[in-house]
């Protein structure tokens, strides 16, 4: 017995967008970081710190916008550790990223305890009650939340900035070769620090989007591995901000889809269904590697890390 109402296109689109937004924001940030030739595996830790700081700020100031901002800044703070270690001290980027990840998990578990079970007030509906009743468009938009829209606007902006502006070109050139960039009079360390910090900003914002906007709840380790998935999806998106949205939708969409399959009464093991997002992502990665050339848009500077 299959209930087709579970696959209403408008509902499915909205829920996919909601599930994808934190991942989309994290992918955008990590793409920028990797574009300047630095890999940051600490995205998950930065998201957690952003989620907790955002929740705490919303609780104290009573304003979710301040919460989102504080969350993003907390992400910057965490990523500055990675920037200091990797760019300043030339430490191993993999080790430093994992340190940021574990530090973020530990700090938020400890300092998050008093915030569990607190009630915050999130965003109001985007549309007034009158507009919500408008068929299709009204019902569609009323289900969206501010961070979903911010994510959708940020994606093309980051893409245009990276590919169509002078600073974007400078960032990309640093990511390709630090030596060449230095020879042309660019300070690569300065650019790389910026790249890591903007990644922290996005991942902190992504975490705050989850706690402040989406769930209005703080729970230990609430990001549930989405930060780690985002780092992987940067590869699927070929280090291209424009492709960040389809990559995020691939994962978030399949997560929303597998929950919806259950509401339709599909008699398949929930544990098997829960693997859908990962299986789909892996398949796309395989296919895209097969179709594209092996280099696949990776900044040349990144390859040095694994040498």
């Amino acid at each position: 017995m299959l209930d087709s109402s579970a696959f209403n296109i408008s509902d499915l689109t909205v829920s996919s967008l909601r599930s994808s937004t934190p991942i989309l924001l994290a992918i955008l940030g990590e793409t920028l970081t990797q574009r300047v030739g630095i890999i940051n595996l600490g995205v998950e830790g930065q998201m957690l710190v952003g989620a907790l700081a955002g929740f705490a700020a919303t609780l104290s100031f009573g304003n979710p916008w301040i919460g989102l901002l504080v969350g993003a800044l907390a992400g910057v703070l965490m990523s500055s550790l990675h920037a200091g270690l990797c760019v300043g001290l030339k430490a191993n980027q993999i080790a430093s990223g994992i340190a940021v990840l574990i530090l973020g998990m530990g700090l938020t578990s400890f300092y998050g305890i008093p915030y569990v079970g607190q009630k915050i007030h999130g965003f109001h509906h985007l549309l007034s009650a009158h507009w919500q009743t408008v068929p299709i468009l009204g019902t569609f938009v009323s289900q969206l939340t501010p961070t979903v829209i911010i994510g959708l606007i940020a994606t093309p902006l980051v893409g245009i900035w990276l590919y169509r502006t002078r600073t974007g070109l400078i960032w990309r050139s640093v990511g390709e070769s630090v030596q060449v960039a230095r020879a042309t009079g660019i300070n690569p360390a300065f650019v790389q620090v910026q790249g890591v910090l903007i990644g922290g900003f996005f991942s902190g914002f992504a975490g705050a989007a989850m706690s402040v906007d989406y769930t209005r709840d703080w729970v230990e380790n609430m990001t549930g591995g989405r930060g780690l998935v985002a780092v992987g999806l940067v590869i699927v998106a070929r280090w291209n901000p424009f492709l960040a949205l389809p990559a995020a939708l691939l994962f978030g969409g399949s997560e929303a889809f597998y929950l919806r399959l259950q509401t339709a009464g599909v008699a398949v093991s929930p544990y098997l269904l829960a693997t859908i997002p990962y299986v789909v992502t892996l398949l796309v990665l395989l296919v895209s590697y097969y179709l594209a050339n092996k280099e696949g848009g990776a900044p040349q500077g990144l390859t040095a890390i694994f040498r």
Binding site: A6, D11, F110, V116, D217, V219, E220, S269
Partner: protein
Amino acid sequence: MKFKSILAAIGLFAAITTAYAETKIGYIYVGPKTDYGYNYAQDQGRLYMEKHVKDVKTSYFENIPENADVERVMERLAQSGYKVIFATSYGYLDPALKVAKKYPNVTFMHSGGFKLAKNLGTYFADIDDVMYLAGISAGASTKSGKLGFIAAHPIPQVLRNINAFTRGAQSVNPKVTTTVVWTGTWSDPAKEAEAANALIDSGVDVLSMHVDSPIAIVQTAEKRGVHVVGYHADASKFAPKGWLVGAAWNWGPMMTKIVESIEKGTWKSENIRGSLATGDVKLTKFGPSVTDKTKALIAKKEQAFVSGKDPLWAGPIVKQDGTVVAAEGTTMPSASVEQMNFFVKGVIGTVQ
């Protein structure tokens, strides 16, 4: 030098007198005590017990994972003079058994397990009776006839709650169905919120759940304007309009009895199982939309459960596929209730 030794003597004296005066009791929680869920309920029990038993001093430890970490915490407590340790999470059972063997003078109480040792007992309570009662309010308030249940893992405790909830709803509206969405994790608020949204989009107008912390689901229900039946504790402040009622633990009196029996020396190792009749599980307060008629219906059924005249798992109990588990006039044996592995008719979902 002299000053130091006097100080040491005072310290020793103080330590001895407090050791005699107070029984130190340690509580170990797998999550934070403020989660409005499982751990919150255990901690409410701790506070109640501390107030009602004389000369006890409790300490609590939050966010302790179910691995070697909890063993270390228990060892430290046992070594620093704690006489009773409440290991409140299911996965603490084997570590507790191990540590209990090493410290025969410390009494261990584990929540939900079924293994015993000389100095280790277990405690739990049948909350499915209360889920049935809460289900009545869901069945009475649904307009679409579709209920939704968000749950973590298909284990017997969870299946009992889903089946009890559904049967309670069916007792007032036989056509009601419950759609189950598994999240596969005890705690992932974003997934729980999305599951709630998915159920509401499919026409569900009353939600219930069995996850560690119900806050995200309760808030999503409120935001979308549907009703919600809570679990573990009273979370009505997160849904002032949509809250119907909840099934909650009431560990205080049971913990008080346990600690008193340990102090008197009458404690023995056993599996304590509380019920609605002993007051260890109860309904939370009702939300504004529950009618007096429904409340009366629930009160009547509660009486029937408490008196034992009409047990929850009395037939007819029919599986999803139509097989009869317990015919009319018979009752499911408690052993098969404890190992429940099926959904009753009217539940949409799968248990594997």
